[in-house]
């Protein structure tokens, strides 16, 4: 029996690259679809991964050399339909894993142009993908990367995608109400709605992974050699909070918490991300089924994370403090947060919880690449509540 073919859209990115190697190692026949636009966005904004990353071609060559396994690469932009369809027809995939999106909330909030660009890239790409599946691979299983951020922070427990609602003596199982907090998060909600519609209407099969914030630099496969190394973002646009704290700790700078720091979010280790995707593939959705897995293992408040990093940095001889900055985002800074994550556990996920060793490894990684850190990229420059141009002009005229 031929090994299952998997297309990985966005396979050059942080989650995508780690997943591509993990699935290749597990015996899947992997094709990466990626136009490497994320690398272009880094250049556009003067950003760079803390850990140097090799060009995609060199990455897959190194993988071939080390393991004998081939990963095919198709330089496809999913917002262009014809190349996507050609790749779909050529690969005849049993599954498509879709990571190919602009994934930064601050990027989407820079200005109108970045909001629209995020929207076009993510939503037209997603529309094209569901149409290409419908037209050329209607039995393939779509595994789509969503985000826990789609739910926002409601004052009730967050279920996995659906909620049984009782109202005026009647009841229905309905999509869980969502309150996305940026133009980026809005695109993810829109994707979820589109995919659910495609499953109901065309009988597509799909798993929507509502993932928490991912941390960690290595998986078993990316740790193999420097050419296979994964990216590590610490900047104010693509950097995630734990990475930023580790970089600040390595520099001996205060760990900057935005606002009160009571913002609680769900988190997952990159080593669990790749396992979750594999679990979803090995237990595919039924034809016509749209299911949501909340893909996280723990929740932390921002200030809790800062305390953890501060204590571990202290133990490594890097004493520091925590500083509170004005919050550039518009979000609740103290709120209820309790999210269900039983679907993946029920299918066998054994969580890798955030250990002191994982935090220490990230701090050591930041120390090791200290000369590559650009301190100007750390403070938040993108404001959710940017002042209207008309108000700025009025103030300028009055002064």
């Amino acid at each position: 029996m031929r090994p299952e073919r998997v297309l990985i859209v966005g396979g050059d990115g942080y989650c995508g690259w780690a997943t591509a190697l993990h699935l290749s190692n597990a015996g899947y026949e992997v094709t990466i679809l990626d136009n490497q636009i994320r690398r272009a966005w880094d250049r556009e904004h003067g950003l760079a991964s803390l850990v140097p990353i090799a060009p995609l071609r060199r990455r897959v060559e190194a993988w071939k050399r080390m393991t004998g396994r081939t990963i095919a690469v198709e330089p496809v932009d999913v917002t262009e339909y014809e190349p996507l369809c050609r790749a779909m027809r050529a690969a005849e995939p049993g599954a498509v894993v879709h990571f190919g999106q602009q994934r930064s909330a601050p990027f989407s909030m820079i200005d109108r142009e970045h909001a629209v660009r995020t929207h076009l890239n993510n939503t037209v790409g997603n529309l094209n993908l569901v149409w290409a599946l419908h037209e050329y691979a209607p039995d393939a299983h779509l595994v789509k990367l969503g985000t826990m951020g789609e739910y926002g922070t409601p004052n009730i427990d967050v279920e996995e995608g659906f909620l049984t609602v009782e109202h005026n003596g009647r009841s229905d199982r309905l999509p869980f109400p969502k309150q996305p907090g940026s133009f980026y998060h809005l695109t993810k909600v829109s994707d979820s709605d589109q995919i659910f519609f495609a499953c109901r209407t065309w009988g597509l099969r799909a798993t929507d992974l509502h993932q928490g914030i991912v941390y960690g630099s290595h998986t078993d496969e990316t740790a193999g050699c420097a050419t296979l190394a994964n990216r590590f973002d610490y900047d104010h646009i693509f950097g995630t909070v734990l990475n930023r704290f580790c970089v600040q700790a390595a520099l001996g700078h205060p760990l900057t918490v935005y606002g009160l720091g009571g913002q609680t979010r769900s988190f997952i280790d990159i080593r669990d991300t790749v396992r979750c995707v594999r679990i979803a593939l090995e237990h595919p959705a039924a034809q016509g089924e749209y299911r949501v897995f909340n893909q996280f293992t723990e929740t932390f408040s921002v200030v809790e994370l800062a305390e953890r990093v501060r204590a571990i940095a202290d133990g490594l001889g890097l004493p520091g403090e925590i500083a509170h900055l004005a919050n550039p985002r518009k979000e609740r800074e103290e709120h209820y947060y309790n999210c269900v994550n039983t679907n993946l556990r029920a299918l066998g996920l054994e969580p890798t919880l955030l250990s002191d060793e994982t935090i220490a490894a990230s701090i050591r990684l930041a120390c090791e690449h200290r000369e590559r850190i650009d301190q100007r990229l750390i403070p938040p420059h993108v404001q959710w509540q940017s002042q209207p141009a008309v108000a700025a002009a009025t103030q300028a005229a009055a002064s």
Copy 2:
């Protein structure tokens, strides 16, 4: 005091034109923003309004001649930001009424290209509009045309935009869960999410009118002369169900019900549409408020409507029958449907219920323009569950 300036985006369309005249008549200073793309879509698909409609320039000239009132016209495509901003800065509107969208579900389901085109037109247009308001008219009241179709047909009562959910002993007021039934309806849900986000984040003020299916040909203002006449769509793409039944009755053809006909929907007379918009403008949302008004007056099942039209046509000497066709859509054909519509009533709307005379007037209008009816445009050609290309190719190869 200067009369309030209102921008009407999509002011050349069915709801937009009627609203422009109604507001102009009520003393508002009206500017229409419309690139007339709807007329281009008609030409593209070989469609035409049953009632001939004058070019937009001639429409506003006739209005000026008859009433002395000026309606300005800006040929702006809202998917282009700079012209939109220029118009926004020039008009300094107190309110913006946004009808400027592709509004047909079948159009959005023709193929991928039409789904993406609908998406780009509606969602990029909506994004541009909220950004332009944020940047150049942050105090203006946005009145946006949504649709009751955003909700789908849940098995619980449909509230106005929000629902208080009790879950595991906790409670929150959350966005009402939505289950849109076409790529067009998906864009409307996405718009609602974006506008709610803009209100929360930037303090915009917005009213989202979740409107039912509109019927009727005349308002007080459009009835003034033939040059002011509004469009009347009966075709399988833009035609609505009541119009189609009236045209079929005029031809002596069977009234075609899709599937069982138990599909129940909410309806509103175009004369109430224009009043609802005015009510929303006269009672604006507060700064930062996002509110939803369910804008309909009655609900009917499709088969009920067909019975009404059949009986009235019979009385006009046009006997006919009802025929059931295979349903081209994917939707529930028997379901619970009970929707709240108290917000507009509380602000003073006196509903114009569907009268026999209104139906008879539409049948007479169809008889009057009988020579303009293109019978080929009536049967449904767009299938929600189009066969995948790969399946069609396989079947062709096997036969």
